[in-house]
Symmetry: C2
Subunit: 495 residues, 2 copies
Amino acid sequence: MLEDTPLEVIDEVLQKSWKAFHQYSKFSIKQRADFMRAIARALQNSSDELIKTAMEETSLPEGRLKGEKARTVFQLNSYADACERGDWLEARIDTAHSDSNPQKPDIRKMLVPLGPVVVFGASNFPFAFSTAGGDTACAFAAGCPVIVKAHPGHAQTSTLVADLIMQAAAECKMPDGIFTHVYGASFGVGEALVKHPLTKAVSFTGSYIGGKQLFDWGNQRKEPIPVFAEMGSINPVFLLPHKLKTSTVDLAKLLVSSVTLGVGQFCTNPGLILGIEGDELQDFISAMGNEIKGIAPSKMLHPGIAKAYAEKRAKALEQENVTVIAEAELPSSDHCGAAIIATVTGKTFLSNELLQQEVFGPYTLVVRCQDITEMTAIAKHLEGQLTCTIMATEMELSEQAEMIEAIKNRCGRMILNGVPTGVEVCLSMQHGGPFPATTDARFTSVGADGIKRFVRPVAYQNWPNHLLPDELKNENPLHIYRTINNELTKEKIGN
Amino acid sequence: MLEDTPLEVIDEVLQKSWKAFHQYSKFSIKQRADFMRAIARALQNSSDELIKTAMEETSLPEGRLKGEKARTVFQLNSYADACERGDWLEARIDTAHSDSNPQKPDIRKMLVPLGPVVVFGASNFPFAFSTAGGDTACAFAAGCPVIVKAHPGHAQTSTLVADLIMQAAAECKMPDGIFTHVYGASFGVGEALVKHPLTKAVSFTGSYIGGKQLFDWGNQRKEPIPVFAEMGSINPVFLLPHKLKTSTVDLAKLLVSSVTLGVGQFCTNPGLILGIEGDELQDFISAMGNEIKGIAPSKMLHPGIAKAYAEKRAKALEQENVTVIAEAELPSSDHCGAAIIATVTGKTFLSNELLQQEVFGPYTLVVRCQDITEMTAIAKHLEGQLTCTIMATEMELSEQAEMIEAIKNRCGRMILNGVPTGVEVCLSMQHGGPFPATTDARFTSVGADGIKRFVRPVAYQNWPNHLLPDELKNENPLHIYRTINNELTKEKIGN
């Protein structure tokens, strides 16, 4: 067990990070991208020990971890490309008009880094949403130094990845303090990090309780700071009747595989399935039941998560009018999560708040709505979600415009005839949603737009060209897109 | 006196606004822009009564108010243009790759409106930062309905402007509830508005106390919402020695005119001037003194502001080692703000927090720093600012890179050899800054980027082309810029 970083060291860490910020923020977007690519290389070339350690700490299978590592390498490289492309800088130039009255000065604006960013990684993604994951990559692209608090569930893995980052930092001659790795199994270290005056932003992936606490600490500071917390959701799936009729068994198989993928330990796990009472829904429920029985229970990330799953699931199942459809029948052992599906009427679901909360694990609740009106009412009633999925024919999609609109207002990503698990790393991805899915629906933690969490605009008024940052110089030496006098262009200014 | 809107009406207001949101959010960017232009026209063609009423309520002179009205008309029209241009929508498309493993789905993302926005206008800008001001214009561009709480200092003016908006709304066949005007001299109405579950964002321009309260209420909700509060700042001016030497008297005149403009009632009023001890600074101080004596005291916005100015100013002047340089000598009358400048050493300034706070009115404090090191130390020590101004030769600017960097980290806009008052309405403007200048330095309240406060991304995964919003359709019917497979383009997809 790695010991907590002593609280008196936190101040040293932030002082060093703050100093690094003043150097690193001036590094060009090319230098930042090169650093990110060096981390990607180090991770790609890492020894087998890394995967082995992660397997021991998280109980995740080798294939999954190798895939996640590859995803993390891709993420670092693709955000590096985005960093260098520079669209995210939002360079805006309005040139002077000396003939207007009053005279208009030359004003140029771009996004600059906020300062040291504290990252709290996720238990369920030891690579992609942890130490060298998306948050760290976005912060480095933005020009911010990073302090990672190792997740106690995989602190050894985190340490190995941190070493790789430090190796890349040395290779790229990064300033001392560009990256710091700290440990904290207790709340104290997290609190000290978030409340330190030199911390300028926080990102987090995990539970509602953890994320909301960090958000509150961030807002209660003398100088409040942005805390982006992704806190999961129940990711409802809406089954429309015609689609369900034409693909009853296929949909049941598809959804069971999504519910049970990775022992249900994804923040996009579909924990709620809404259908309309009738024969097709009964057939679908039976088909799901048949599928789920054959799913072998697997070890969950750590005993705490398995315990929480067992408790939350039991709590949900003991609610009035909740019926179990089927449960995995294969033998289970310690810390394993057995898949289970239950069902309830729309009326009961609407009246019982507990049923609307996330059960992290291979569990889903099939809600039998009376009709499309009740399904729409539930859509309107739902809390904020990362994703909503709609299984529908094109005809149904256009007929149910009101429900689709309600769904859109409740989530960050709408999937048609697919599954919410599997979060593509691309610019168009939105991994964020209205509270409580995240603390600020205006941002994402997947895709290069995630950089925007860690930057703010600064305008230069009446500045001499040669002293402007390269991004804003007349010559456009970085060849980036800029909005000049309201027109997006890569052109230079003047001759 | 207009009576407070009864608290029981607030729920009706939000219900209506929420209903309007579902209709208005689907209006095209062209329809939104046309509505904004109709408001601009109604304001432009408004009767003399509007200016007369504003003069009575705010004591601002006719010329200033006519100029501010024209600025508001320009603002509405230019944000309408930006709305229609659609760059702000951040349309992103990643097309499907069926040959990759796993297959990549088609994902398309754009910004969508948050929902009803509550606007709290400013006392000092009855037009440009109030009822039909920048916040309202940005919210309408975003696709959000607006609820304005009339500023108690100019509630009649606000009512007249609200009537113009309603007139434009009728002309453009906007949904009922697109705009609502409420009254509230007490905290109760504001609190009910911010805490109502259907309120999805808040914007505010005014004092620290007011803005911070709204921010806290917004964060304490069951579903926290973004509250963008612009709370003013002291807008420091850094005088570098060579520049000061070559233009001593000109700089004194320029700064006195900026300090006393509009009786100092601007959030960009330069309330702090930093120079380096020496003959030039003494000459500058004397020249400022001569100038200030001749400034006629004018009526402030309302008696409360005049009283607060007198009290805060007295409090600052009674601090140890603060010396008055000069005060306006012309006769003053009720509710007038007499200009005054005082001076103090850098050491005293650094050790006394009270001197670092805003005195809203025609007041400025000249801080005599020992040397450039002390000036840099003060730059590093300052709270977040809307603006910082540097008076320097190009040589000094490049020599003092460390200080410039410190200044950049403390503000949203850096002005070289100009004055901070006069906030240009253009895309490159940043009117926002680190806390306590605003509650979120990542946003601006001036310029079309202000729209981004009120929108969030939504991704459509695997959606059929004809059911996508026009912004994301293959054909690009709106001819907007979009990022397709990581490339910014106006091209359509396919043939």
